[in-house]
């Protein structure tokens, strides 16, 4: 018999290599199949470097690494790997959503719910319900209150009615939503991914933006969100609730929202001239030949920050292996150096242009070792409130289909994504 199943089994594995949960949608596959995964893990040295697709004599293992856990799925036939990977991330998202964290402890504490969820999310190897709105109606998430009540009254956490969303053509929204305060909030969050070269010029930069929504509106609201400058959005991914045709013709986001928190759109702005780089870094890192020390000196300053304060700055540097220790003086904030992982972390805080934050001092190298060839890259984190660096601005939000007046709000924030400065 040729087995034409999609996802055969799932194993959850923690960082110390214990398989702490397994779920089989088809016949039981022995845990020993994970040996191949462990082999690959050993070879990869670093957990992040385990290849996501591994072939074994009888199966393929497709895995993701999330929150210090490996989700390893076993498949037996040709299956689109992205399909599996997306699904695994969705499983992790659901755990996060249900238990507040996606951790071994949380999963073990809620193992019965986990099993119910997995059964509900996949039937015969096909994804079924992966929308959190629907799942939450079928299987109630644990709350402290509910588990107390449950244990007193003996009532259950299984929904005994059908999710209403299943009945309608908008499976992402449940019916009969009621709030006393009707509110719709949007967060425009932009992350700057950039590579800055030694001399300070931009090698590569783009903005990864998302609009996350928190919608608590009664009934069946139909929303339209318009922008001052929709032309910025030429590379967009939409939540299924968005009417694509409306966007194509009018550049308006028109949708009946899911209830609660969800990601409305994600977008990418890449034309170089639109990506402002809010900070600059002056650096001088040098190691002397035939000597066991080096110098380290970095200074951060504001660049194109649109007059806003840059805060939450952190600089992380993976120093070369031969670095034993660092004795530095921060002009601002505090720093730590982990001699085992060789990671230097400098928690800067915010930039005040009058006195630029700097960190300088000596680097102690292993004596006798050759001076390191590679120059470490600096990884910079920062945050700018009330600014979407691309210039994207929401124009207005209109609601149709319901009579009440909701509270509306838009927040903007810009952060560093993968922001790297080469030295």
């Amino acid at each position: 018999m040729v087995e034409k199943k999609m996802i055969h089994s799932l194993f959850l594995i923690n960082c110390s290599g214990d398989i702490f949960l397994e779920k089989h949608w088809k016949s039981v596959v022995s845990q020993s199949v994970c040996d191949y995964f462990f082999e690959a893990q050993e070879k990869a040295a670093d957990v992040e470097n385990v290849p996501p697709v591994i072939s074994t004599p009888h199966h393929y293992l497709i895995s993701i690494y999330r929150d210090k856990l490996f989700f390893v799925s076993v498949i037996q036939t040709e299956v689109p790997p992205l399909f599996v990977i997306e699904f695994l991330h969705r499983v992790a998202d659901t755990f996060q959503d249900y238990f507040g964290e996606c951790s071994e402890a949380a999963i073990k504490d809620n193992v019965v719910i986990v099993y119910e969820l997995l059964e509900e999310m996949l039937d015969n190897g096909f994804p079924l319900a992966t929308e959190s709105n629907i799942l939450k109606e079928l299987i109630k998430p644990p709350t402290i209150l509910r588990s107390v009540v449950n244990s007193i009254t003996g009532s259950s956490n299984v929904g005994d009615t059908l999710p209403t969303g299943q009945l309608s053509n908008i499976p992402w929204r449940r019916a009969g939503v009621k709030y006393t305060n009707n509110e719709a909030y949007f967060d425009v969050i932009e992350e700057i991914d950039a590579i800055i070269d030694k001399s300070g010029s931009t090698v590569f930069a783009e903005i990864q933006g998302v609009i996350d929504a928190c919608i608590k509106l009664s009934g069946m609201p139909d929303l339209s969100l318009s922008f001052m400058n929709p032309r910025l959005l030429d590379d967009v991914s939409f939540h299924p609730c968005i009417r694509f045709k409306r966007w194509e013709s009018e550049r308006v986001l028109s949708f009946i929202p899911p209830d609660g928190n969800f990601r409305l759109i994600s977008y990418r702005v890449s034309s170089q001239n639109l990506v402002a780089i809010p900070v600059y870094v002056k650096h001088s890192i040098s190691f002397k030949e035939n000597s066991s020390c080096g110098r380290f000196d970095i200074t951060i300053g504001p660049k194109q920050n649109m007059g806003k304060t840059i805060e939450g700055i952190t600089v992380t540097v993976h120093m070369p292996k031969v670095v034993l220790n660092m004795s530095l003086t921060p002009a601002q904030g505090s720093y730590t150096f982990d001699p085992v992982t060789k990671v230097l972390t400098w928690d800067v805080g915010k930039i005040t242009p009058q006195k630029l934050p700097s960190l300088k001092g000596l680097v102690n190298l292993q004596s006798g070792a050759p001076k390191p060839e590679e120059n470490p890259s600096l990884n910079i984190q920062f945050k700018i409130q009330q600014l979407a660096i691309s210039g994207l601005k929401v124009n207005r939000l209109d609601m149709y289909g319901e009579k009440y007046k909701p509270f509306k709000g838009v927040k903007y924030v810009t952060k560093a994504g993968k922001f790297q400065v080469r030295t």
């Binding site: 670093d46 299956v79 992205l82 399909f83 588990s147 993968k418």
Partner: protein
């Protein structure tokens, strides 16, 4: 209180305790007990023993308890079908429950029970559920049809479930639509003949409408299904593309990639002059780039696919080079893929940027990545001529760093640059020579030696340099030895006066002191050339070499086209057609891109004619099973396939290469010089490998190998042969097969003039010598004869496969008999497969070819089994211990080159072994099993 408490039951008597709790009167206690059972299940404990007790809890009004019981059932229904059937009445009852959740649960669980008997109970409830008023039940029932089809396809068809399923594609609920499509595509895939998704313009339209309605997962199924459709002309292709493009903006990356596949495929039909073609190209870039901002695992799969897409249509991403720049904290598997794509996109316009990046990467920490970056610089030089100079100077900068592995990689690529642009960059040779001492990798040493030999006339101390390598000649790898030999001969031809001694030295080292036949042969060729006609030698050895070609490691175009049809699948990740590696995959059904067809072309024109029909099969490059069987039968037509066929393109390339390599060796440039373009990753030296195989074989023969010999049996009783009784057996010893005969004269007259003949048989067994009975056989006399056999006789497939028809003649008459020979006499001595090869082959052979057997009552342990089998040429390649069982992985090869792969599972204390055999010619498997039986039990 959390669920973790369920894990803390005492070890001892756990099952017993649970049993008691499950049978408790208290509902709460029961529920807790079921939860404990489920908790055990999640960590892989076997709690199937509790089946009856858990099923007893099923009849309850408590929904949660019921759901938990169903969770349990679903886990074990598949593995314990006979027990699950006990609950069938409850299932049927639950299918009528007023609560749709219960109805759905029941029908879903019933579908999981893989027993024929269940089907009679399932049909009625399933029919009702497919028409249920509740979409939740309908969508569950839709999937159930696929499950039932898997158990009993005929029944599903007879009951009309397929039609109901097709109707569900137009259901008002998107979840139902999604599941109906999923179920249909599953059924269609496992039964390609079912003609279920007979794609025609109407059904396509239905699917396209459903595409807008359905959930993200359903969209993937629909898109994959659309990709199999062949539009009748470019107009239809365009209209489908138009309706698919909005999917490129979906948040689910799998949807995006499936949409990309449809578009890439149908674009093939559009004329490039069409405006729409350009629009489509533009629309494809952003979603592909967006995939790269997703999680690293998604990025990896996306990059593997982008690698195909940029080879097929480089114009799509030609302006997007920068998104492939590597971030230092990308996982290594992402870094390496990005690098590959950077080189593919490198052009004159962006080369400066690319080089600056590559130079940056060359100072990173990860050695593999650094090496690949250095190689990439070389590839850029070869690909973009204008950049060559800059590349060379970048490489020189890198050599200055003196980082050992960087220097070595740089020298290897500079050699290629010299071959691409001769007489241009030789000024750098001096710098290269300075680093001679630091080279410790064979490839780098060989490259350096080649450079010295090739440019000997410009290097003053070339003789000294080469001489310095000569000291440790025998410690060098073959690659370096061959190179050194050639380089010194070149040097001699260029500067004959001062290097005579050197050349004699190397020739004698190569021909007299070396036991490498490859090296020896090349030494002799040079020697003879130089001694007979130095002028000719000069012409041959110093001949002008062809330039190496530009683009390296491109996927061969037909394979690329096929892979484009598999965008988003595992095939696209491995860059191999699915038939090459997926077990039980689509077999040999090849997909191909549609031909370009214009709508305004008359349908009568011959070009347009095939477009309506599914495309003509591509030339089938993968040997099918049929071909192999052909090999089995047509042994005398050609040499047998001696290794497991790989993806054939590489086999073909290999063959071409062998020639190329051979030719090269004559013009004095072997083994390194096969230009990278013509040399796909291929282990070992081309000539060497053939020869060393030969040597392996002889060494195998050398070890005395005594296969098991059965006692003689009577083949021809005297009463059937006018008094001649023949008994015999077959042996294999030290590589030769013989038939050991015992002839007894039970007649009253003397017998003489014996002769023997075999009919054509499956493996071409034939007597290698005439039957020699030296003296006449007197009455009551017996003579023992050993008749040597070979396997070069005519081949005809026999039934049973190992049947041998023999004719024996004497002065009285001709007698016929047939006998069965044990297959192990055909197991050759070089049947030990390389481990990697084993793994690849095991995967490569489709699942249907796997056969399983039980070997009972065998008291041996793994070691004894292994050594006993080995003496009959069944070789153990690897041994693994899995959960206390020994798994032996074994291989054997038949005289006609057929490989049989085996997995033997041995449980200590159990005398029953499980034998799984995989072979491209599965009909030999039962006989191989017989051989195992015979060898192990005697």
């Amino acid at each position: 209180m959390t669920d973790s408490k369920y894990f803390t039951t005492t070890k001892k008597g756990e099952i017993f305790e649970l049993k008691a709790e499950l049978n408790s009167d208290k509902k709460e206690k029961k529920k807790e007990a079921v939860k404990k059972v489920i908790a055990s299940m999640t960590v892989g404990k076997d709690v199937s023993a509790l089946f009856p007790d858990v099923v007893n809890c099923m009849q309850t009004d408590n929904l949660e308890l019921k759901k938990l019981v169903y969770l349990y059932l679903m886990n074990y229904a598949k593995s314990q079908p006979d027990m699950a059937i006990m609950a069938v009445n409850t299932f049927v009852k639950d299918c009528e429950d007023p609560n749709p959740l219960i109805r759905a649960l029941a029908v879903r669980t019933m579908g999981c029970i893989r027993v024929d008997k269940i089907t009679e109970y399932l049909c009625e409830p399933l029919r009702k559920c497919l028409k249920d008023e509740d979409p939740y039940v309908r969508k569950t029932a839709a999937v159930c049809v696929a499950k039932l089809h898997d158990i009993n396809a005929q029944l599903v068809e007879d009951q009309g479930f397929l039609d109901t399923l097709k109707d569900l594609i137009s259901d008002s609920n998107p979840m139902v639509v999604a599941n109906a499509v999923a179920a249909l595509s599953e059924i269609a895939e496992s039964h390609p003949s079912s003609n279920l998704l007979d794609l025609n313009p109407q059904s396509i339209n239905k699917l396209l409408t459903a595409l807008n309605e359905c959930t993200e997962w359903g969209q993937i199924f629909i898109l994959d299904c659309l990709a199999n459709y062949m539009p009748k002309d470019d107009r239809e292709a365009q209209s489908i593309c138009e309706r698919v493009t909005p999917r490129l903006s979906h948040a689910n990356s799998a949807v995006v990639l499936s949409a990309v596949k449809v578009l890439m495929k149908f674009m093939e039909m559009l004329s490039k002059d069409l405006d729409y073609y350009g629009t489509l190209l533009k629309k494809l870039a952003p979603p592909l780039v967006t995939l790269l901002s997703a999680e690293p695992e998604l990025q990896y799969v996306a990059l593997r696919n982008i690698n195909l897409i940029v080879q097929k249509r480089p114009e799509i991403l030609k302006h997007e080079m920068k998104v492939f720049f590597v971030k230092y904290n990308d996982p290594i598997y992402v870094k390496l893929e990005k690098l590959d794509i950077m080189i593919r996109l490198a052009s004159q316009a962006n080369i400066a940027q690319v080089l600056a990046e590559l130079k940056e990467y060359a100072t990173e920490v990860d050695v593999d990545f650094v090496r690949k970056a250095v190689r990439a610089i070389g590839r850029c030089a070869i690909k973009v001529e204008q950049s060559a100079e800059r590349c060379v100077s970048t490489l020189l900068d890198l050599i200055q760093t003196k980082v050992n592995y960087v220097v070595q990689e740089a020298i290897v690529v500079i050699k290629d640059i010299f071959r691409k642009y001769p007489n241009k960059y030789e000024s750098v040779i001096a710098t290269l020579c300075e680093n001679l001492d630091s080279l410790d990798e064979p490839e780098a040493r060989a490259a350096m030696i080649w450079i010295v030999g090739e440019y000997a006339e410009r290097i003053d101390n070339a003789d000294e340099l080469l001489e310095s390598f000569l000291e440790g000649f025998h410690d060098e790898s073959t690659q370096v030895q061959l190179q050194l030999l050639t380089a010194i001969v070149k040097l001699f031809l260029k500067k004959p006066t001062e290097t005579q001694e050197l050349v004699q030295q190397v020739l004698s080292l190569a021909t007299q002191d070396s036991d490498n036949p490859d090296l020896r042969d090349r030494g002799y060729i040079y020697w003879r050339l130089l001694s007979t006609d130095p002028v000719a030698a000069k012409e041959v050895v110093l001949a002008e070499k062809p330039l190496i070609s530009e683009e390296t490691d491109l996927i061969e175009p037909t394979l690329l086209d096929e892979l484009i049809c598999y965008i988003g699948t595992l095939a696209s990740v491995y860059h191999k057609p699915p038939s090459a590696f997926v077990e039980g995959g689509r077999g040999v059904v090849h997909k191909s891109l549609p031909p370009r067809t214009a709508s305004n072309e008359s349908t009568e024109s011959p070009e347009a004619a095939p477009a309506g029909a599914p495309t003509g099969e591509q030339p089938d490059v993968i040997p099918t099973q049929g071909d192999l069987l052909g090999d089995l039968l047509n042994l005398d037509l050609g040499p047998p396939v001696s290794g497991p066929p790989l993806a054939t393109s590489s086999v073909q390339m290999g063959a071409v290469d062998l020639l190329g390599g051979g030719l090269d060796s004559l013009i004095g440039d072997t083994n390194f010089g096969a230009p990278p373009a013509a040399a796909p990753a291929r282990p070992g030296a081309p000539i060497g490998s053939g020869l060393s195989d030969l040597f392996d074989l002889t060494s195998g023969v050398g070890t005395l190998s005594g296969s098991y010999v059965a006692p003689k049996a009577v083949w021809l009783p005297a009463m059937k042969a006018k008094g001649l009784e023949i008994s015999g057996t077959f042996t294999r010893q030290v590589g030769s097969i013989s038939m050991d005969l015992q002839l007894t004269n039970k007649a009253l007259q003397v017998m003489m003039d014996f002769a023997i003949q075999f009919n054509r048989n499956s493996f071409g067994l034939a007597p290698a010598a005439p039957l020699q009975v030296h003296a006449p056989l007197s009455p009551n006399q017996t003579v023992e004869i050993s008749l040597p056999l070979n396997t070069v006789g005519s081949v005809m497939k026999m039934d049973p496969l190992n049947n041998l028809q023999v004719a024996v003649k004497n002065n009285i008459d001709i007698f016929y008999f047939s006998t069965l020979y044990p297959l192990h006499i055909l197991f050759v001595e070089d049947g030990k497969m390389d481990r990697q090869m084993f793994l690849a082959t095991w995967k490569d052979i489709p699942n249907e070819n796997e056969a399983q057997f039980q070997i009972r009552d065998c008291p041996l342990n793994a070691e004894a089994v292994s050594s006993r089998l080995q003496s009959s040429n069944i070789f153990t390649i690897a041994k693994r211990n899995v959960e206390g069982q020994d798994m032996l992985y074994q291989s054997l090869k038949l005289t006609n080159g057929i490989w049989v792969l085996a997995e033997l599972r041995i449980q200590p204390g159990n005398t029953s072994f499980t034998l799984s055999l995989k072979c491209r010619a599965p009909e030999v498997s039962p006989h191989v099993y017989q051989a195992y039986e015979t060898i192990l039990k005697n």
